[in-house]
Protein backbone atom coordinates (compact mmCIF):
# COMPACT_ATOMS: atom_id res chain seq x y z
CA UNK A 1 0.00 0.00 0.00
CA UNK A 2 1.38 3.41 -0.87
CA UNK A 3 2.16 5.65 2.08
CA UNK A 4 -0.37 8.26 0.99
CA UNK A 5 -3.12 5.67 1.39
CA UNK A 6 -2.16 4.88 4.95
CA UNK A 7 -4.07 6.45 7.85
CA UNK A 8 -2.41 9.56 9.31
CA UNK A 9 -1.06 7.81 12.42
CA UNK A 10 0.74 5.19 10.32
CA UNK A 11 2.06 7.84 7.96
CA UNK A 12 3.42 9.89 10.84
CA UNK A 13 5.11 6.88 12.42
CA UNK A 14 6.82 6.06 9.13
CA UNK A 15 7.90 9.68 8.72
CA UNK A 16 9.44 9.70 12.17
CA UNK A 17 11.24 6.39 11.55
CA UNK A 18 12.75 7.92 8.40
CA UNK A 19 13.61 11.24 10.06
CA UNK A 20 17.08 12.65 10.59
CA UNK A 21 16.57 12.45 14.36
CA UNK A 22 15.86 8.69 14.21
CA UNK A 23 18.68 8.09 11.71
CA UNK A 24 21.08 10.00 13.94
CA UNK A 25 20.32 7.59 16.77
CA UNK A 26 20.90 4.63 14.44
CA UNK A 27 24.18 6.13 13.22
CA UNK A 28 25.30 6.59 16.83
CA UNK A 29 24.57 2.93 17.59
CA UNK A 30 21.94 3.96 20.11
CA UNK A 31 18.92 2.22 18.61
CA UNK A 32 17.70 0.35 15.52
CA UNK A 33 14.39 -0.46 13.95
CA UNK A 34 13.67 -4.17 14.27
CA UNK A 35 10.13 -4.61 12.99
CA UNK A 36 7.07 -2.60 12.07
CA UNK A 37 3.74 -4.39 12.26
CA UNK A 38 1.05 -1.81 12.83
CA UNK A 39 0.07 -0.75 15.44
CA UNK A 40 3.33 -2.08 16.89
CA UNK A 41 6.91 -1.12 16.18
CA UNK A 42 9.83 -2.97 17.77
CA UNK A 43 13.06 -1.07 18.38
CA UNK A 44 16.30 -2.26 19.97
CA UNK A 45 18.11 0.13 22.35
CA UNK A 46 21.73 -0.47 23.37
CA UNK A 47 22.79 -0.17 27.02
CA UNK A 48 26.24 0.88 28.19
CA UNK A 49 27.29 -2.75 28.73
CA UNK A 50 26.45 -3.59 25.11
CA UNK A 51 23.22 -5.44 25.85
CA UNK A 52 20.47 -4.62 23.38
CA UNK A 53 17.02 -4.42 24.94
CA UNK A 54 14.07 -4.53 22.58
CA UNK A 55 10.90 -2.61 23.19
CA UNK A 56 7.56 -3.07 21.47
CA UNK A 57 5.76 0.24 21.14
CA UNK A 58 2.00 0.41 20.65
CA UNK A 59 1.41 3.41 18.42
CA UNK A 60 -2.34 3.77 17.87
CA UNK A 61 -3.26 7.43 17.16
CA UNK A 62 0.44 8.33 16.80
CA UNK A 63 1.80 10.89 17.58
CA UNK A 64 -1.21 12.79 18.96
CA UNK A 65 -1.50 10.11 21.65
CA UNK A 66 1.67 8.94 23.38
CA UNK A 67 2.98 5.46 22.66
CA UNK A 68 3.33 2.81 25.34
CA UNK A 69 6.35 0.51 25.44
CA UNK A 70 6.92 -3.02 26.70
CA UNK A 71 10.25 -4.86 26.92
CA UNK A 72 10.02 -7.57 24.28
CA UNK A 73 11.71 -10.89 23.55
CA UNK A 74 12.33 -10.73 19.81
CA UNK A 75 13.28 -14.38 19.34
CA UNK A 76 10.28 -15.79 21.18
CA UNK A 77 8.04 -12.89 20.06
CA UNK A 78 6.59 -12.47 23.53
CA UNK A 79 6.98 -10.16 26.53
CA UNK A 80 10.50 -10.20 27.94
CA UNK A 81 10.68 -12.38 31.08
CA UNK A 82 11.20 -10.23 34.22
CA UNK A 83 14.62 -11.78 34.91
CA UNK A 84 15.88 -10.29 31.65
CA UNK A 85 14.57 -6.75 32.27
CA UNK A 86 17.15 -4.06 33.02
CA UNK A 87 17.78 -3.18 36.62
CA UNK A 88 19.66 -0.55 38.60
CA UNK A 89 19.99 1.20 41.92
CA UNK A 90 17.21 3.77 41.72
CA UNK A 91 15.95 5.48 38.58
CA UNK A 92 16.33 2.43 36.36
CA UNK A 93 14.65 -0.06 38.62
CA UNK A 94 11.69 2.29 39.05
CA UNK A 95 11.26 2.88 35.31
CA UNK A 96 11.66 -0.78 34.30
CA UNK A 97 9.35 -2.43 36.80
CA UNK A 98 7.81 -5.73 35.64
CA UNK A 99 5.54 -5.69 38.69
CA UNK A 100 3.78 -2.51 37.59
CA UNK A 101 0.83 -2.74 35.17
CA UNK A 102 1.62 -6.43 34.62
CA UNK A 103 4.84 -5.42 32.92
CA UNK A 104 3.03 -4.06 29.86
CA UNK A 105 4.36 -0.49 30.15
CA UNK A 106 7.36 1.43 31.39
CA UNK A 107 6.90 3.61 34.46
CA UNK A 108 7.79 6.87 32.74
CA UNK A 109 5.96 10.17 32.14
CA UNK A 110 6.36 9.78 28.36
CA UNK A 111 4.38 6.52 28.41
CA UNK A 112 0.69 6.64 27.51
CA UNK A 113 -0.35 4.19 30.21
CA UNK A 114 1.97 5.42 32.95
CA UNK A 115 0.99 9.09 32.67
CA UNK A 116 -2.64 8.16 33.41
CA UNK A 117 -3.29 8.91 37.06
CA UNK A 118 0.05 10.65 37.48
CA UNK A 119 -0.88 14.24 36.71
CA UNK A 120 1.70 15.54 39.19
CA UNK A 121 4.40 14.20 36.86
CA UNK A 122 3.43 16.96 34.40
CA UNK A 123 5.04 19.58 36.64
CA UNK A 124 7.54 17.31 38.45
CA UNK A 125 9.08 15.89 35.25
CA UNK A 126 8.22 18.21 32.34
CA UNK A 127 11.36 17.16 30.43
CA UNK A 128 10.18 13.52 30.43
CA UNK A 129 6.73 14.12 28.95
CA UNK A 130 5.69 12.87 25.52
CA UNK A 131 6.22 15.43 22.74
CA UNK A 132 4.19 14.67 19.59
CA UNK A 133 6.62 16.51 17.29
CA UNK A 134 9.50 14.30 18.49
CA UNK A 135 7.37 11.19 18.99
CA UNK A 136 9.22 7.92 19.41
CA UNK A 137 12.62 9.63 19.35
CA UNK A 138 11.73 11.43 22.58
CA UNK A 139 10.71 8.17 24.26
CA UNK A 140 13.77 6.36 22.89
CA UNK A 141 16.06 9.12 24.16
CA UNK A 142 14.68 8.69 27.67
CA UNK A 143 15.15 4.91 27.57
CA UNK A 144 18.66 5.37 26.14
CA UNK A 145 19.64 7.78 28.92
CA UNK A 146 18.48 5.32 31.60
CA UNK A 147 20.29 2.36 30.03
CA UNK A 148 23.49 4.39 29.77
CA UNK A 149 23.35 6.02 33.19
CA UNK A 150 25.52 5.22 36.20
CA UNK A 151 22.35 3.89 37.82
CA UNK A 152 21.97 1.05 35.27
CA UNK A 153 23.15 -2.34 36.54
CA UNK A 154 22.62 -4.91 33.79
CA UNK A 155 19.88 -7.53 33.67
CA UNK A 156 17.79 -8.35 36.74
CA UNK A 157 18.69 -12.02 36.67
CA UNK A 158 22.38 -11.66 35.89
Amino acid sequence: MADELLPPDQQMLRLHLESGRFRSGVASGWWRLVALKWPYVSIGVTARDGIEYSFRFHCQDYPRTAATAQPWDLEADCPLPPARWPTGRGRVVLAFNPGWHNGTSLYLPCDRDAINGHDKWRHEHPALLWEPEKGLCKYLGIILELLNSSDYGGRRGA
Partner: protein
Protein backbone atom coordinates in the same frame (compact mmCIF):
# COMPACT_ATOMS: atom_id res chain seq x y z
CA UNK B 1 26.89 10.37 -9.67
CA UNK B 2 27.50 9.18 -6.13
CA UNK B 3 24.76 10.19 -3.73
CA UNK B 4 25.79 10.66 -0.11
CA UNK B 5 23.60 11.16 2.95
CA UNK B 6 24.27 13.92 5.43
CA UNK B 7 22.76 14.58 8.84
CA UNK B 8 22.38 18.32 8.69
CA UNK B 9 21.87 20.71 11.58
CA UNK B 10 22.16 24.45 11.72
CA UNK B 11 20.96 27.90 12.63
CA UNK B 12 17.19 28.18 12.10
CA UNK B 13 17.05 24.58 10.85
CA UNK B 14 14.55 22.55 12.87
CA UNK B 15 15.87 19.38 14.50
CA UNK B 16 18.18 17.07 12.47
CA UNK B 17 17.59 16.85 8.72
CA UNK B 18 18.63 13.87 6.61
CA UNK B 19 19.66 15.25 3.21
CA UNK B 20 20.95 13.54 0.09
CA UNK B 21 23.53 15.29 -2.07
CA UNK B 22 25.81 14.55 -4.98
CA UNK B 23 29.05 13.37 -3.36
CA UNK B 24 31.08 15.23 -5.98
CA UNK B 25 29.53 18.53 -4.97
CA UNK B 26 31.02 20.74 -2.33
CA UNK B 27 30.40 23.24 0.40
CA UNK B 28 28.68 25.78 -1.90
CA UNK B 29 26.02 23.28 -2.90
CA UNK B 30 25.43 22.24 0.69
CA UNK B 31 24.91 25.89 1.66
CA UNK B 32 22.21 26.17 -1.02
CA UNK B 33 20.57 23.00 0.27
CA UNK B 34 20.74 24.18 3.88
CA UNK B 35 18.98 27.43 2.94
CA UNK B 36 15.99 25.39 1.77
CA UNK B 37 15.69 23.78 5.22
CA UNK B 38 16.03 27.08 7.06
CA UNK B 39 12.94 28.62 8.57
CA UNK B 40 12.41 32.28 7.73
CA UNK B 41 14.49 34.80 5.85
CA UNK B 42 18.00 34.93 7.28
CA UNK B 43 20.79 37.06 5.86
CA UNK B 44 24.53 36.80 6.37
CA UNK B 45 27.43 34.57 5.55
CA UNK B 46 27.02 30.95 6.57
CA UNK B 47 29.85 28.50 7.14
CA UNK B 48 29.90 24.71 7.03
CA UNK B 49 31.37 22.80 9.96
CA UNK B 50 32.05 19.10 10.38
CA UNK B 51 30.62 17.91 13.72
CA UNK B 52 33.10 18.57 16.50
CA UNK B 53 35.40 20.72 14.36
CA UNK B 54 36.02 24.34 15.32
CA UNK B 55 37.23 25.48 11.91
CA UNK B 56 34.77 25.74 9.02
CA UNK B 57 35.33 24.08 5.68
CA UNK B 58 36.61 26.22 2.84
CA UNK B 59 34.20 27.21 0.08
CA UNK B 60 35.96 24.94 -2.43
CA UNK B 61 36.16 21.89 -0.16
CA UNK B 62 34.32 18.70 -1.01
CA UNK B 63 31.76 17.32 1.40
CA UNK B 64 32.95 14.73 3.93
CA UNK B 65 32.69 11.05 3.12
CA UNK B 66 30.34 9.05 5.27
CA UNK B 67 31.98 6.64 7.70
CA UNK B 68 30.97 3.00 8.23
CA UNK B 69 28.04 3.46 5.91
CA UNK B 70 26.49 6.06 8.20
CA UNK B 71 25.73 9.65 7.17
CA UNK B 72 28.31 12.36 7.83
CA UNK B 73 27.29 15.01 10.37
CA UNK B 74 27.49 18.61 9.29
CA UNK B 75 26.49 21.98 10.71
CA UNK B 76 25.71 25.28 8.97
CA UNK B 77 25.87 28.52 10.95
CA UNK B 78 26.83 32.20 10.81
CA UNK B 79 28.62 32.14 14.20
CA UNK B 80 32.19 30.84 14.21
CA UNK B 81 31.93 30.25 17.97
CA UNK B 82 29.10 29.90 20.47
CA UNK B 83 29.73 31.20 23.97
CA UNK B 84 28.23 28.78 26.46
CA UNK B 85 27.50 29.53 30.12
CA UNK B 86 26.78 26.55 32.38
CA UNK B 87 25.52 27.07 35.93
CA UNK B 88 25.73 24.43 38.64
CA UNK B 89 25.02 25.01 42.33
CA UNK B 90 25.00 28.77 41.77
CA UNK B 91 28.40 28.84 40.05
CA UNK B 92 28.65 29.72 36.36
CA UNK B 93 31.49 28.61 34.08
CA UNK B 94 31.88 29.67 30.47
CA UNK B 95 33.60 28.36 27.39
CA UNK B 96 33.35 28.88 23.64
CA UNK B 97 32.72 26.00 21.25
CA UNK B 98 32.26 25.59 17.52
CA UNK B 99 28.58 25.53 16.51
CA UNK B 100 28.87 21.89 15.41
CA UNK B 101 29.75 20.78 18.93
CA UNK B 102 27.26 18.28 20.38
CA UNK B 103 25.35 18.73 23.60
CA UNK B 104 27.09 15.53 24.80
CA UNK B 105 30.50 17.16 24.37
CA UNK B 106 29.47 20.35 26.17
CA UNK B 107 27.90 18.30 28.96
CA UNK B 108 31.13 16.35 29.38
CA UNK B 109 33.17 19.56 29.48
CA UNK B 110 30.83 21.14 32.02
CA UNK B 111 30.41 18.21 34.38
CA UNK B 112 33.92 16.80 34.36
CA UNK B 113 36.27 19.62 33.39
CA UNK B 114 34.46 22.70 34.67
CA UNK B 115 32.81 21.29 37.79
CA UNK B 116 35.14 18.39 38.60
CA UNK B 117 32.61 15.54 38.65
CA UNK B 118 33.59 11.90 38.21
CA UNK B 119 32.34 10.30 34.97
CA UNK B 120 29.82 8.35 37.06
CA UNK B 121 28.43 11.52 38.64
CA UNK B 122 28.49 13.29 35.30
CA UNK B 123 26.25 10.57 33.84
CA UNK B 124 23.61 11.46 36.44
CA UNK B 125 23.44 15.11 35.31
CA UNK B 126 22.10 16.74 32.18
CA UNK B 127 22.10 20.17 30.52
CA UNK B 128 18.84 22.08 30.68
CA UNK B 129 18.32 25.38 28.85
CA UNK B 130 18.26 28.13 31.47
CA UNK B 131 14.75 29.34 32.17
CA UNK B 132 13.14 26.42 30.32
CA UNK B 133 12.41 22.75 30.95
CA UNK B 134 14.00 21.74 27.63
CA UNK B 135 16.90 19.30 27.75
CA UNK B 136 18.38 18.98 24.27
CA UNK B 137 19.30 15.48 23.09
CA UNK B 138 23.02 14.54 23.27
CA UNK B 139 23.43 14.52 19.47
CA UNK B 140 22.01 18.04 19.08
CA UNK B 141 24.55 20.59 17.85
CA UNK B 142 24.65 23.64 20.08
CA UNK B 143 24.51 25.89 17.02
CA UNK B 144 20.99 24.73 16.26
CA UNK B 145 19.93 26.32 19.57
CA UNK B 146 21.71 29.67 19.02
CA UNK B 147 21.33 32.57 16.61
CA UNK B 148 23.67 35.16 15.17
CA UNK B 149 24.65 37.81 16.27
CA UNK B 150 24.12 36.70 19.90
CA UNK B 151 26.07 33.43 19.43
CA UNK B 152 25.36 32.63 23.06
CA UNK B 153 23.66 29.90 25.10
CA UNK B 154 23.03 29.40 28.80
CA UNK B 155 22.39 26.06 30.49
CA UNK B 156 21.89 24.74 33.99
CA UNK B 157 23.54 21.44 34.85
CA UNK B 158 20.78 19.58 36.69
CA UNK B 159 20.63 16.17 38.41
CA UNK B 160 18.41 13.47 36.92
CA UNK B 161 15.53 12.73 39.28
CA UNK B 162 13.72 9.50 40.07
CA UNK B 163 10.23 9.06 38.68
CA UNK B 164 8.05 7.79 41.49
CA UNK B 165 4.77 8.32 43.28
Amino acid sequence: MKIIEILLQGEHIPDIQLVKVDGEKGVKELLVLAAKHRQGEVEGEFEVFIEGCDEPLKRDDLLPESENGQPARVHVHRCRKIKVDVTFNGVTKEHSFGPGTTIAAVEKWAAIKAFGMTPADAAEHVLQITGKTERPEPDTHIGSLASCPECHLAFDLVPLKRVEG
